[in-house]
Structures are given as structure tokens and as C-alpha cells.
């Protein structure tokens, strides 16, 4: 038998086996779905959701559709990912440079942070942040105030822009028992669940970024900074013009995969009751029973988020890629 024929036969066999497997799954799914009377179209997305969501970037009420609820969940995932991404980057770079510091106390402290945080499950850290760090916050009547920001066990409130008379005005958050004896009124609110999630995600991802930064800076050969000094560049100039561009090339690819992992990790929101994409889709799945469609949508949306993150970081990567080596 000639090689080409054998190659073809093997591939055909594989395709056939896979085809049979899929057919098997498909027939079963069709049988099961019909037997159970589960809907198989996406029409449910236009039905009224009926449940409420406590944190939303767009207007949403229980009268909105399932489709809109899903968008609310998606935007919440984006919100948490972007905020955590910013904080994690700040923490990560700070801790990474601290680990490289010649001061032993500082570098050991940073090493302890990185070592502990990286070796604990993220879920444990989220639960810890929620139950231990945020639980002692006072009720709305005894909130902490600073510069117009309000912090209490109902969330973190920031001043927001509003347009009461076609004119932008600042909407200050305040607690007024006459308006609402339970909660702070006005401003823009980040729920405690979101705060716990963002806090834990930033600390966790920050520890990974710290290691990436350290490896990146260490990858720049020592001769580079010595050469820069020899050419009369100051230490700051050497850092900005010589070390950073070279280090960033090494740092960026693993940094991007950290951002991707973080976006996926934000799905742990379901454990603290934050209405992210995963939690909202869980509720929808439960109410409609449309397991196949909902899971397909969730998978597609997470994939889209990953691709979007990649696209954004690629733009930055292209800026770094001036001149020569990549």
C-alpha cells in the first residue's frame, strides 16, 4: 500500500470515527431534548427575564429581555476585567521592581507576597476578601467618607455625572434617611461583591505579573546598562531608553496571557454572587432550561473577550516593535 493511500485511509478512518461520535452525540441530544421538551432555538433571548440584577452598566429592569440580561453580564465581566487589569498591572510592576530592589527587606517582602499569593487558590482568596476584608465595613449610616467617595457594606460609591437639566452636574453619593433609610442615594456604585472580586483578582494576577516583570528585566543583559552608562546616559535615561524597550519585548507576551487568564478567572464571580456573564447565564439556563444555547453563547462570548484582549494588546505590541528584532 502506498504511503499516500495509507495517509488517506487513516485520516478517513479518523474522520469517520469522529463523525460517528458526533452523530451519536447529536442523536442522543435530539432524543433527550425532545423527550424533555427543552427548547432548541434562540427565541428565548427575546423573552422577559423577570429577575433583577444589582449592578449594571446599562439600564436594566426585570422587564428587560434575557438577551439584555446577558449583555449586562458581559459588560460586568468587562468592567471587572478592565479594573482588575489596571490594578494588577500597577501592583505587578511595583512588586516586580520591589523584588529586584537591592534593599533586601523590600525584595524579601515582595518575594513573600508573590510566593504566598501564587500558591493559594484564587477562589480561597476571593472568599477571604469577601468574608474577612469586606465584612467589617460599617452599614450605610456609619459609612466612611473621603473626598466625596463613600464606602460601606453596600458598596463603594463614587460621584457620577448626571444631566438633570441638559447640563452636566455632579451627582454626589450621600446617605439621607429621609430619601432612603437603607442605602446611600446617588453617585455610581460598585457592589461589595465586585470590590471583593476586583481586590482578589488584582492581588492574584499582580503576583504573576511581578514574576513576569522580574524575569523580563533580568533578561536584559547586564552589559546593556553598563554600555548605556559608558555612553553617558543617566540611570533614568538608561532605564527609559535602553532597559525598558528590551524588557517590554520579553514581558509583553506572557503579560497578555495573564490578562487572558484573568478575564477567564473573573468567572469566579459566581461564588460571591456578582452578576457577571457566568452567573447571569447560569440564571438564564436555570429559568429557560436551554442548556445548549446558553452554554454555546457563553463559550462564544468568552472567546470573543479573549480575542478582543489580544487585539488591544497587539496594538501596543506593534508600537514596541519598531526597528529590527521581534
Amino acid at each position: 500500500m502506498s504511503r499516500a493511500v495509507r495517509r488517506f485511509a487513516i485520516q478517513a478512518g479518523l474522520a469517520l470515527a469522529l463523525g460517528l461520535l458526533f452523530a451519536f452525540a447529536f442523536i442522543n441530544a435530539r432524543e433527550n431534548l425532545r423527550a424533555l421538551g427543552i427548547p432548541t432555538s434562540f427565541a428565548f433571548l427575546h423573552d422577559v427575564a423577570g429577575f433583577s440584577i444589582n449592578q449594571s452598566l446599562i439600564s436594566y429592569s426585570p422587564l428587560s429581555t434575557y438577551g439584555r440580561a446577558l449583555i449586562v453580564g458581559l459588560l460586568n465581566t468587562v468592567l471587572v476585567s478592565v479594573l482588575s487589569g489596571i490594578f494588577a498591572t500597577l501592583i505587578g510592576f511595583a512588586a516586580g521592581f520591589a523584588r529586584l530592589s537591592r534593599n533586601l527587606a523590600l525584595s524579601r517582602l515582595a518575594a513573600a507576597y508573590v510566593g504566598i499569593v501564587r500558591n493559594l487558590p484564587l477562589l480561597l482568596q476571593i472568599l477571604f476578601c469577601y468574608a474577612i476584608v469586606l465584612a467589617p465595613l460599617p452599614g450605610p449610616a456609619e459609612s466612611y467618607h473621603f473626598a466625596g467617595f463613600v464606602l460601606n457594606n453596600r458598596g463603594f460609591f463614587t460621584p457620577a455625572l448626571s444631566y438633570p437639566h441638559f447640563w452636566p452636574a455632579i451627582d454626589w453619593p450621600l446617605f439621607d434617611p429621609a430619601l432612603n433609610r437603607f442605602n446611600v442615594v446617588g453617585g455610581w456604585r460598585l457592589s461589595p461583591e465586585a470590590c471583593a472580586l476586583i481586590l482578589a483578582l488584582s492581588l492574584y494576577t499582580g503576583a504573576y505579573i511581578a514574576e513576569i516583570v522580574r524575569a523580563g528585566v533580568q533578561s536584559v543583559a547586564r552589559g546593556q546598562s553598563e554600555a548605556a552608562a559608558a555612553m553617558g546616559l543617566s540611570a533614568a535615561q538608561a532605564r527609559r531608553l535602553v532597559i525598558r524597550p528590551q524588557a517590554m519585548r520579553v514581558i509583553l507576551p506572557p503579560l497578555i496571557s495573564q490578562y487572558l487568564a484573568m478575564t477567564k478567572n473573573s468567572s469566579l464571580a459566581a461564588f460571591v454572587g456578582f452578576a457577571d456573564l457566568m452567573q447571569v447565564s447560569g440564571t438564564i439556563l436555570n429559568q429557560t432550561g436551554a442548556a445548549l444555547q446558553v452554554m454555546a453563547l457563553v463559550m462564544a462570548l468568552y472567546l470573543a473577550l479573549s480575542l478582543a484582549t489580544l487585539a488591544v494588546t497587539r496594538l501596543y505590541e506593534r508600537r514596541l516593535r519598531w526597528g529590527g528584532r521581534t
Partner: protein
Amino acid sequence: MNPRRPLNLIRFFPALFAILLGLCAGREAGADTLDATRARGFVVCGVNIGLAGFGLPDDRGVWRGFDIDACRAVAAAIFDDPDKVQYIPLSSKDRFTALQSGEVDLLSHNTTWTESREVGQGLLFTAINFYDGQGFLIRKSLGISSALKLGGASVCVQQGTTNELNLADFFRAHGLKMEPVVFATADEAIRAYDSGRCDAFSTDASGLYAERLKLAHPDENVVLKETISKEPFSPAVRQGDDRWFNLVKWTQFALVDAEELGVTSQNVEEMKKSPNPEIRRLLGQEGDYGAGLGLTPDWAARIIKAVGNYGEIFETNLGKDSSLKIPRGLNASWRDGGLLYAPPVR
């Protein structure tokens, strides 16, 4: 690299698959649930992960509760042994999938009977065994007596329940604002309420009494008198198996009829000699009402002997003999002003 090499390793795939499939418990949930149950030797019952009074393992891991006794009654009817039950704890979120997929024969999970669950998810609810309504648990210090005063409050609630939807409905209907704080389990929700995250905790009134026991200071919290919804609980089975549906349904009816006729687990043997034809029919002394269900004529007598009548089950698990002390209320017999009314066995 040689292109064909990996396929030699592919040979191991079938072995891997065989191991995986071998681990799949071959549980026959085909068309006839009763035959499958008999062949297996026990009933598989989907129950709440843990709700005091309805279904909760005790210190020695034995499941006890109102929903548990519903399962035990079915096992007693089939096997004459109420312990021939396997309990699968299910979260509210995935209880219906478990029933649909054939993982459990019967869902006895303080589940509210609604139209969409029955029509849209391929289930059949058998018969209402508990009339409940959604209420609120609040701190006494708030000094509130009506849920209508909760406008603007944060309310902790469990995800994937009718409670979540009723809550939204109630506040919308009264034009009030509310911040729902949604958790996957009742435990997490009550914990968040206890930590001050919410002003109120909302679930079915029966559950409020049970969850209140978990608080650090149960006495500092009260259950508001009013209820905001109808929550009729019922066991559920899969659609498409009428005999099994009837068996579960009539198990419940037999419990209610027994209470109405005064048959208890204590006196069931003497009652067999009773001259009352209704009692004689129920206990299998006249006519054969078990055959159509696939059971022997004394099916109801077995159930009552094993788990007691409805009243006994209620009082041990939820009522005055339990730590919950829930009043009979709507769950009293129709003769006593309640809603319990079962068709007669004849």
C-alpha cells in the same frame, strides 16, 4: 518528524474511553421508571442540599426531613422498606437537569409548582404537599412591620428560585426600589444577611424559620407576617411515564387521606379491621387499588406504617415536634380550615 507516528498512540484512545465509560454508572432510566427502580433495588431521590425540616443529614449522616419522608413513602410503597432510597443532594440551580437527565427518579426538593417548569422543562408535578408563601426575615432593630416599608433596601436571595423572581415582581408591582443580592445557595445568602450586607433575607416562609436557626443571634431577627407569593411545593417526575407519575401522586394522596380518616403509623394494623369502607379500601382490605400502580393491594398500609400519615410527617419534621415550630396554617386538612384535600381511594 514522521507524519504517521501519532496514530500508533491513538490506539490507546479506545482504552481510555473504555475506562471512562466503565465509570459511568449504568443507571437504567428508560421508559418505565418503576421497573427500573425495582431492578435496581432502590429509589433515587433528588433532595435539597440541606434545609432544616425539609432535608438535612443528621449528625450520623442519616437524611431527615419532610421531603425525605416523601421519598421514604415511595420506597415503602414499592419495597416495603422506607430505607431503600438513595438521596442525591441537588442545588436549586441544577435540580431540574438532574431529573430530566434521568439521574434521579423523583425530585422531592421543596420545589414550587409553576407553569413554565411543568410545560417548559419536561416535568410533571405530582401533587401539592406543602402550601408555602414567600416572606421576609428582618432585624428587629429596623422596627418594620410590613414588607411595603422595605423600599430601597438590599435583600439577600437565592439564585435560580421562584423567590428571586417574586421579589422582583413584588417591588415592581408596588413601585418600590430594591437591590437584590443573589447567591448560589441559601447558606451563602443567609451568611451575607447575617454579616449586614442585606437589610432583609427572603425565601419561602418555611425556609425562613429554618434559616433563622443559622444566625448568630436568632432572637434578634423576626419573620414578617405577610407573604408575597403562592409557593405550592410538590414532588416532580419526568414526563412520559404515567404509571410512575400516578404512583408518586397517589402516595401523597394516601398520606393525606390517612390523616383525614384517622389512620396513623401506630393504629394502622387495628384499622385494617375497621368497618369503615373508606378505610378498608385505603388499606387494601376491599378491592385492589394497587394493581394499576404496579403495587400490591396493601400499598397504602405499608406507606403509613413506615412513615406515618401526613399530619405525623408534618409535626415531626416541621411542626410542634421539631425545632422549627411552623404552624399547620394552610397545610391543615380541609376539615380544619386548611387546603389539604385529597381525592378518595376507590
